[in-house]
Symmetry: C2
Amino acid sequence: MKKLMLALLGITLAGGAAAQMKPEEAIKFRQSAYATMAWNMQRIKANVEGAYNQDEVIKAANVIQSIANSGMGALYLPGTDKGKGWEKTRVKPALFTDKEQVGKLATNFNREANEMAKVAATGDAAAAKIQFGKLGETCKACHDDFRIKE
Amino acid sequence: MKKLMLALLGITLAGGAAAQMKPEEAIKFRQSAYATMAWNMQRIKANVEGAYNQDEVIKAANVIQSIANSGMGALYLPGTDKGKGWEKTRVKPALFTDKEQVGKLATNFNREANEMAKVAATGDAAAAKIQFGKLGETCKACHDDFRIKE
């Protein structure tokens, strides 16, 4: 009946899949996305500090870029400030209230992730090393402000 | 000393970061990458079955495409046929031996993931629905052959 009412009102929940997502699922998905980026940051690090394989760095940078631009904010649903996905969330309550700082750090991260993918495509190992450092700083800035230390 | 020997021999392990990865880390990373793709498959599903938001589908398809092309095979290290990442791995032993079938299914998955991103970019909702079905079939084919049922 509720479904019918929503249909009659022209309201669809389908576009907002996140609205149907359980809190523990949202936490699991964001932990997964961060871990996937961590894997690829490790790959870039190994390449800029050791033998540089352009193809490896491009693949890794593309993963980070696509996740950075995926709209992960949708996974920070109300009710996901506490709880467990794969493990207990380490998000600080401030992430849900300090919109201005979150927005600023997210914008910085997106910009550097996009730039990392651009630099990777050129094959310039020295530039990739510098850009990797800049990107890592934007990760750290968010961890410092919004992630509980282990 | 071993490090020095390797350096003298001109051998570097840095390019193969996976070689330094612990088995549990490799399992965690692949579980994370699959979960990240599952999140984005859910997003595409919600869009092709409900209100279609082109931007949402593009973002989701780009994540799946980048992970499909990331070289996840490197995470199937020797010694990761058993063990725990976020949870106990569900990989079947055959994945480590049946190279031909793994290669075939991986090629199919990559092709359809690349096509999904292309179709998403056009904004054609009907075509996206068809392509989503094709992509899902390639996921299922690999689960059927190489993932232990829950």
